[in-house]
Symmetry: C2
């Protein structure tokens, strides 16, 4: 089997380069994948030296880049100004076939922009989408767009549905994944002007389209794929995060001593983990001619290692071929 | 003090007329408000006869209407076809000053439409908004629009902010309530084309505008008022409902026997109640020249009684005068 190499943006994330470097070492050791650490070489070396036990250096290559894009920067401005930013170089490695996937926990707008610039979009796809695996009562749902394309036209939602459906076929190994359109009521007329127009497109184009789906039904496991525009998707994700936090806060308040119960604490921790997509290691950017995994800014080393694993699995399952 | 009279759409709700009638009787007894029960008189009488102890009939008037609007009907079509539908008659009572507020747990599109048709919008307000009280770590936030206006222009969001701010002044008794714009990042450039344009309007027009606010910060209590378009607001609300359900499901699964613990169950029940806006008795439709409270279709008698209380408090605190 061909070597799998993942390009990791070593400068991306709230605690970069520490977490990306540590995560890359974890993944190299446990998965046996080769890693290209892209970023400022002296900073990367310094982090590598801290790691114990000694990382599997035979699997790790350092690609020195003089600059990188900070979290707060405007993606479009920064991508124009910093041609050798780590995230651009990482995306370039994938575009040139020198790596099979890239992982970045940095500025997510910049990561998407870099992927689109270097890899280009897939034929027939005008805008990319971030696909996230959300937990449901029955397993998982592929939810997209989680934030790549905030202003969508109906055809974008249709393309997201096509990509989500292809991804679901390889991910869940089913022939005709059910695709729902996130909306505020089940009837086709319920929704806004975007969803009403998208509903028509989705209904007549060979997808296993089950119509509008409300968030509650999505979280019950009513579809394998749910599409919405990137603004609504990102807000939904952030409501999930915020409510999980609020509920744990309310629980602590309501329960007093009971809250300290060990079994309860362990159970809550598991649920927190299930709901926390940062822990899942990241989301796949669908719609570009290459694999790009976007991780949460606050990713730990474990989360980065999981993102690398997501990348490896996407290579193994030939997600790209199924999308094309 | 002048008598307060609330018009209740007796035919609105999943379990109408039972729940609206029972809720009206509860409210009449506990709050001493007069109630006009609007709907099919024989059905209302039949429900009144079931109620024990005997309802305070001196406070209850029945307004007989031959027709009503069902949950699944298209609001615009139904409002045109059924001129004497209970919800239209109830809105008419408020418009004519024969009631100070109306409550409906029926088809919410029809309730909004009826209120706009009969009461007209306030001067300077083009579209109405549903304002909901959401729980936060620090108390409550006024969240609007929760579903009245699904396709918004920037000026609509600005008008929602003005109304929310006026409502917050009377509700929280503070001079300059903090107003946030729901978005996917704090920087003014984060968001979609609607929020970016709205941000400019909100920033320069005499509000205590704190800029974009993310859902997590909203649920932490970072603002007294948060505005968004009605599609995003309704989706957010439904994500909250869905996640609450999912978390209780996951907890039961994770905890096994521990889940049966009495103190835990009691605490969870309290939290469920806090998060369930149906239990709060309903939301205020802001932007019309009259008070209209929209309740959840699955409202219990208690929820209807609370909605009537929300109406009474809105009358008492002169919300309308502050909005005008």
């Amino acid at each position: 089997m061909k070597e799998i190499r993942i390009a990791v943006d070593a400068m991306g994330g709230d605690e970069a380069p520490r977490m990306p470097v540590a995560g890359a070492c974890l993944a190299a050791r446990s998965l046996g994948v080769s890693i290209s650490l892209v970023g400022k070489a002296d900073l990367i070396h310094r982090e590598l030296e801290r790691i114990s036990p000694t990382p599997p250096m035979e699997l790790i290559t350092i690609i020195d880049t003089p600059e990188w894009i900070e979290m707060g920067e405007s993606p479009s401005t920064a991508l124009r100004a910093k041609k050798s930013a780590s995230v651009l170089v990482a995306a370039g490695l994938v575009a040139k076939g020198e790596a099979q996937a890239m992982v970045s926990a940095g500025n997510s707008g910049a990561a998407m922009g870099a992927a689109v610039l270097k890899m280009k979009t897939l034929p027939g796809i005008e805008r990319p989408a971030i696909a996230i695996m959300l937990p449901t009562m029955k397993g998982e749902v592929i939810f997209l767009d989680a934030g790549a394309t905030v202003d969508c036209q109906p055809k974008n939602l249709f393309q997201f549905a096509q990509m989500g459906s292809a991804f679901a076929r390889t991910r869940f190994k089913i022939d005709a994944p059910r695709v729902g359109l996130l909306s505020i009521g089940e009837e086709p007329t319920k929704g806004n002007s975007l969803t009403r127009a998208a509903h028509e497109l989705l209904a007549n184009n060979g997808l296993n389209f089950i119509g509008n789906i409300e968030p509650k039904e999505m979280l019950r496991g009513g579809a394998e794929v749910v599409v919405c525009d990137g603004f609504v998707g990102n807000i939904s994700l952030k409501v999930l995060e915020g409510l999980a936090e609020l509920m744990f806060g309310l629980l602590a308040e309501e329960l007093g001593e009971v809250f300290a119960d060990k079994a309860l604490q362990a159970g809550l921790k598991n649920i927190k983990r299930k709901l926390d997509w940062a822990e899942h290691g990241g989301a796949l950017l669908l719609g570009v001619r290459g694999l790009c995994i976007i991780s949460h800014g606050r990713s730990t080393a474990n989360a980065i290692a999981k993102a690398i694993q997501v990348g490896k699995e996407a290579v193994d399952s030939q997600v790209l071929a199924s999308l094309a």
